[in-house]
């Protein structure tokens, strides 16, 4: 049926269209609190000489983005490097960080994967440490969910990478995924209970201890400083 282009939809369709993604009441006060906290966090981050959780979390957000790019690069490299190794091409930085090549990919791929994984685990460890401190002090870190989502994305890329054949690392990444997903999905109205459940779960799993054990000393921070 051909209709005039300017013809509005009929009443039945209009009614149905109004039900599309129909917003509920606006959580004005919650939103205002979140906005104020985030702005305060940013102000503190800018103010010199003051200790603040805002700056590390911001840096983490940037670092998570960089790690995501790294992990994507690993994936692309893995996909595009099916043929024999190119003569004369080596990966000095990556190989220096790879203590032992796991079975599966070439040493170059494994080293790149390990570098990306070490960077990611270092960021996750720093984030969860800050997060736990924040919860203990009763602070509501507005950026926690957003940062957790970014780290979760990198985590999933690493889990999906064919270069990741190390079983212990895989288990750690799977447990980490669970914790990050919980933080990413924190509901504002149930934050108190959920935060306690998350931090209790982290303690029981020994998540921070495992992360610290998995990250080669100094690897993550050295790389991050260079990158930033």
């Amino acid at each position: 049926m051909i209709l005039d282009d300017d013809e509005p939809l009929g009443p039945e369709l209009r009614e149905a269209a109004r039900a599309y993604h129909e917003p509920g009441p606006v959580p004005r006060e919650d939103l205002w609190t979140r906005i104020q906290m985030r702005r305060e966090s940013e102000r503190r981050a800018v103010a010199p000489g003051r200790r603040s959780i805002g700056r590390p979390v911001r840096v983490l957000a940037w670092s998570a983005g960089i790690a995501a790019v790294l992990a994507i690069g690993v994936g692309i490299g893995r996909m595009s490097n099916r043929g024999p190794a190119v003569r004369g091409v080596t990966a000095p930085v990556a190989s220096a960080l790879a203590p032992a090549a796991p079975a599966g990919g070439s040493p170059r791929e494994d080293a790149a994967y390990r570098l990306a994984a070490a960077e990611h685990l270092g960021q996750a460890e720093a984030f969860l440490t800050l997060f736990r401190a924040s919860v203990r002090e009763g602070r509501q870190e507005a950026l926690a969910s957003a940062t957790a989502r970014q780290l979760l994305a990198t985590n999933r890329l690493l889990l999906d990478s064919p270069a990741g054949s190390d079983t212990r690392l895989r288990f750690l990444l799977q447990d980490l995924e669970l914790v990050l997903a919980q933080i990413a999905q924190l509901a504002p109205e149930r934050r108190g209970e959920d935060l306690k459940l998350i931090t209790d779960g982290m303690e029981q799993d020994g998540m921070l201890v495992r992360l610290r054990a998995a990250v080669p000393a100094g690897t993550g921070m050295t790389f991050r400083q260079g990158a930033l």
């Binding site: 300017d6 369709l13 209009r14 039900a19 939103l31 906005i35 969910s145 957003a146």
Partner: protein, 213 residues
């Protein structure tokens, strides 16, 4: 089909080209008629650090921003994230606001940009999960009874190209004018009209069997 049947079906057929045109819906959410002077005063107060002015600016615009990003995202958590991000950017970018458009238009343009960018990022992340879910979804779809109009329309709106969808939601659902949409999205009103026409045409085509039913 006799004349009586046609007349009785015409009353409930949303695609009937001969039906009486009704007024455009719900104009209550249009951009508020604030004067440039009001905006300038409010902005000056916010920039001077007046907390009550910040709250006033937020109160004046939060409903519209939240509704708009909710319509685009369809998820309360995302809508809250996008609303928060919109105001953070608006407060920090007020110095760059040159007053060429109304403050409300400027804030809405930030909101649309934040929501669309957020959705694009989300789509990229979800893309790999879709393949895994596809088999289960396809199997479930066979079992589901013929969905009602709302579900059909919702899926059809989801399938619209991004530009059409935003214009359709802003105009036909939220009641913005083409001039307001044009200023918000940075396009000519004529472009907004054309996109709306195409969106409606696509929806009509998608729901054509409903029209015949």
């Amino acid at each position: 089909m006799n004349r009586r049947t046609v007349a009785s079906r015409r009353g409930r057929n949303p695609f009937d080209p001969f039906r009486v045109r009704e007024p455009t819906p719900d104009r209550t959410l249009r951009l508020p008629p604030r004067s440039p002077v009001d905006d300038r005063l409010l902005i000056a107060r916010v920039q001077a650090g007046d907390a009550s002015a910040e709250r006033a600016l937020y109160d004046a615009h939060v409903d519209r921003v939240y509704r708009l990003v909710y319509r685009i995202a369809g998820d309360p958590d995302q809508a809250q994230d996008y609303t928060q991000e919109t105001f953070i950017r608006a407060f920090s970018g007020l110095a760059d606001f040159r007053g060429e458009a109304a403050l409300a238009t400027w804030i809405c343009s930030i909101a649309v940009s934040v929501a669309l960018n957020g959705l694009r990022r989300g789509k990229r992340l979800r893309a790999r999960e879709v393949a895994l879910d596809e088999a289960a979804t396809a199997a479930a779809a066979v079992r589901v009874a013929e969905p009602d109009l709302r579900d059909r329309l919702a899926r059809a709106i989801d399938d619209l190209p991004e530009g059409y969808r935003v214009v359709f939601l802003m105009h036909d659902v939220e009641g913005y004018t083409h001039e307001e949409i044009g200023r918000t999205l940075g396009v000519q009103p004529g472009t907004s009209k054309a996109q709306l026409s195409r969106a409606r045409a696509k929806l009509r085509r998608t729901l054509a069997d409903f029209a015949r039913g």
